[in-house]
Symmetry: C2
Subunit: 161 residues, 2 copies
């Protein structure tokens, strides 16, 4: 950690604008932010809430823990998002019969309705974005991003979303 293998200062200089974490963040923020308007303005939802809802909408009922695993969102965040969504009547909890610690989460009818609405918007937004990027890129980008997300750093704790 502290034994940087004697890099000559004259080696190469750091270029912020070519630094992947930086570029990824810029791109991620730009897109998330612009789509954010959809769930924030109309439903007063948080990014995390939208994601939790999206996961439940997409994969069906499951526990908070499953959501953490699938989405890599930290459990605290999920916990609070679930509480908020429940308060809004968008999702329900049911103690798992097999493990009374776990709660099976599922969307209510209202939740599903919101999911359908936002899902359609997301689809439209995504399509538009990909169209601008061009087919060639659009088809490759997913795999690349998934790969980066997975590798990020091999030897580091799970982290969150």
């Amino acid at each position: 950690m502290s034994d940087v293998p004697k890099q000559r200062e004259t080696g190469q200089e750091f270029d912020l604008e070519g630094f992947l974490p930086y570029l990824l963040n810029q791109a991620a923020e730009a897109t998330s932010r612009s789509f954010q308007a959809s769930y924030k303005a109309e439903y007063g939802m948080t990014r995390t809430q939208w994601r939790v809802l999206a996961n439940l909408g997409k994969f069906g009922a499951m526990t908070a823990r499953d959501i953490c695993r699938i989405s890599h969102i930290e459990k605290t965040k999920v916990s609070r998002a679930v509480a908020a969504l429940e308060a809004e009547g968008l999702l329900q909890r049911a103690t798992s019969p097999e493990d009374r610690r776990a709660e099976i989460l599922s969307l209510t009818d209202g939740g599903r309705r919101v999911f359908r609405d936002l899902g359609q918007r997301a689809l439209a937004y995504d399509a538009e974005l990909r169209k601008r990027l061009g087919d060639g890129v659009a088809t490759q980008i997913d795999a690349v991003l998934r790969s980066i997300a997975a590798q990020g750093d091999p030897d580091v704790t799970p982290g969150d979303d």
Copy 2:
């Protein structure tokens, strides 16, 4: 805003895992987080602080406003990061002679030292990541991400980092 053009529910279903904002966030968080250890553990710096420092290190003295323009980080965030970095003795301010509202920011020797150190680590981290991605991808990804960051959404406010 509320006139979703009659999308048949039966059209196509929303696939969270193919949603660019989602994928980008996963990738961005994964990389940023893992690199975060470098500046957080050793220098107790924040992501924003690291970015401000990186910008100053890379582009030299400039005003907070310039940093906002270049990095798209929101001005409040920059303001606080600058205050923190100054408190740590990593940067200095000097009232601009031409415009006394503006402050020319520049790294101190200590700041430059930290920049060199973190810059080298960033370089190493980035190189490793790109190596794993493979040359083909690595050379294209930058342009794509920049394009996404720029387009994100054409008609939306500047936003932040």
